[in-house]
Amino acid sequence: MKLFSLILLSLCTQISFAATLINGAGATFPFPLYSKWFSEYQKINSEVQINYQSIGSGGGIRQFSDKTVDFGASDAPMTDEQMQKAGAPVVHIPTVLGAVVAVYNISGVQSGLKLTPEALSAIFLGEIKKWEDPRLTKLNPELKLTGDIIVVHRSDGSGTSAVFTDYLSKVSPAWKEKVGQGTAVNWPVGLGGKGNEGVAGLVKQTPGSIGYVEFVYAEFNNLSYANLKNKTGKFVTPSLASVTSAATASIKAMPEDFRISITNAEGPGAYPLSSFTYLLVWRDTPDAEKGGQLVKFLNWAIKDGQKLASELKYSPLPKSLVAKIEAKIKTLTFGKQKG
């Protein structure tokens, strides 16, 4: 009985500590980092507890717009139409950067496959059907490429597909016209795998296959990934640094609301399949207490939080951008106290 009341007492104190409960939902891609962030942040600031449901970017935007959660998270920025439907001004806060890599399984080729945007889009359009196609062997004279190509793509709607198809639409007019860009598209060829793990599993097992997954996923699963030719004509290996440099190269073109696609970025070191991931907050959070805590957290995330990012293989934000985001966070209000 004593023990029981002790447990009850400790539970009560815990509840009273977590004074402010903030709920968020959205993108699955940054989930490992976000959950680390929220638990680390609670150690520093015990006044707040942040819950995050990784239900996917689409679901995050929906729940955020319906105001069932306090903040949303999305890999792709909201469209103008979605922002209008939300009913109140939305602010996008970039948190980290991610990259999509083309993974392949060719027997005897462990690494070093080079691909141009034209070759990549032709493969996914089904125009290049064999590895021994001259368009591929010319790029990779030192590699032995043979056999049929089996294309693997995501079957579920995902931010990863959105980034990948956004890039293909930019570099290939044929892709833009026939397929287009989106979280789920009508794929001209290939097999669909559910989730990063589904695509990785199919590629790992199917000789001659090529697919795309999150960079983090390819790293942790020892998949071979291709070097992509970027806008300046250099073949770039995906890495934390080359992804961040894609963001640095795009800062000049960065719009006021941070809604930008950085695929096919300029700059010699930029990896072309890079993307931001965002937290979505209201310009004025209705609940003053939640809003205040959320602003504190955002400030922590874009500074101290960035150190945790590289540990988990996410590319940190470029330093010059952090200042801009900080200025943006200052404009946020809550409960209309400041204005």
Binding site: D148, S155, G157, S158, L191, K194, Q205
Partner: protein, 341 residues
């Protein structure tokens, strides 16, 4: 003022107009609650059970209604031709559900085709041939298959079944039976054929354990009579077991089919997820349940969401239809059967 309601009253419910029968039902309930049961506890018990049985009906109706309301936009946008179109393009918001409808029906039928001989074999063996101890063990193990989560079947499919099919079974079939259109094309490993196999494994416990119960219910005297007339073991099983158990076995198969139609996770993992109608069983396909599971979380346009709800409605109707047809057939077979005795 009879203290109990004659059973005839219940029977007469089926005849007469709806209003009439509703009136009768109300009267029946009143009779039950007010006159027959003197004890309060009895009344509460009756009403409680009445409530639970009505609850399922209400639930079923409200699910159907919800799905219809949610899919109204999709129906308004493309009309009922959405069922016959085979394009699925979320970028341009154009949808047709024919390929996923086809995928669901064919993969489930394949599952049933693979599962029925296997399940009946298990049921006959455990009930008619095996020594009691062995039968208990086999029966237990088969029923254990039903307890395996579907995602585990899916993983097993990806890591064991798919490489096996791609490496040896599919190339063998393509080489030797390639003249049949259903065994053509490259051996991907994943696809319709694979999902049929996985589904067969998943519904085998259902079909075999129900069939076994049905076989067990057949009186021993029938078997003895057949054997006494000089039937071999197989003839005995065919004449006195399988023939009498027809309706029950059919019911078991339909229950299995019902599970196969709605199965999502394992199928999504091995079917290749491509909304296309191809003759070859080795080609990737897509089912209604898996397209919902795949695209619901990231669907942002209203038409896309609404179309996914429509797919749900269609799946709901298909399972409803299959079950209704099954009930009809079973009741017919049973009637014919009871007539012969």
């Amino acid at each position: 003022m009879s203290p109990s309601v004659p059973i005839g009253d219940v029977r007469s419910l089926s005849s007469g107009t709806l209003i009439n029968s509703t009136k009768k039902a109300t009267k029946l309930i009143r009779n039950f609650t007010l006159k027959r049961d003197v004890h309060l506890a009895d009344k509460i018990f009756f009403l409680g059970l009445l409530f639970t049985s009505f609850l399922t009906v209400i639930l079923l109706a409200s699910i159907g209604l919800f799905l219809y309301l949610a899919s109204e936009k999709a129906i308004a946008a493309s009309g009922w031709q959405i069922i016959f179109r085979s394009l699925w393009d979320p970028v341009r918001d154009v949808y047709g559900v024919l390929p996923v409808l086809y995928g669901t029906l064919v993969s489930s039928l394949l599952g049933v085709i693979f599962a029925v001989p296997l399940s009946l074999g298990i049921a006959l063996f455990t009930n008619e041939l095996a020594p009691k101890k062995l039968a208990t063990i086999v029966g237990f193990l088969v029923e254990l298959l039903a307890a395996i989560p579907s995602v585990v079947y899916g993983l097993w499919g990806i890591f064991v079944l798919v490489p096996l099919l791609r490496g040896s079974i599919q190339p063998f079939l393509i080489e030797n039976l390639g003249f049949l259109p259903i065994f053509t094309g490259p051996a991907y490993g994943v696809g319709m054929f694979t999902s049929g196999l996985i589904l067969a494994l998943m519904i085998t416990p259902t079909i075999s354990s129900i069939s076994r119960e049905v076989f067990r219910a057949i009186p021993h005297s029938q078997r003895e009579a057949a054997l006494a007339l000089g039937a071999t073991r197989w003839e005995m099983m065919r004449l006195s077991v399988l023939k009498s158990a027809k309706a029950g076995v059919f019911g078991a198969i339909i229950l299995g089919l019902g599970r196969a139609l709605g199965e999502t996770m394992a199928v999504t993992m091995v079917i290749g997820n491509r909304a296309e109608i191809v003759a070859s069983l080795f080609a990737p396909a897509q089912t209604m349940a898996s397209v919902i599971a795949n695209e619901y979380t990231e669907a942002t346009s209203e038409i896309h969401l609404s179309t996914l709800a429509f797919v749900g409605l269609l799946l709901f109707m298909v399972t409803f239809l299959v079950n209704s047809i099954a009930h009809l057939i079973i009741s017919k077979i049973t009637k014919k059967h009871t007539g012969t005795f």
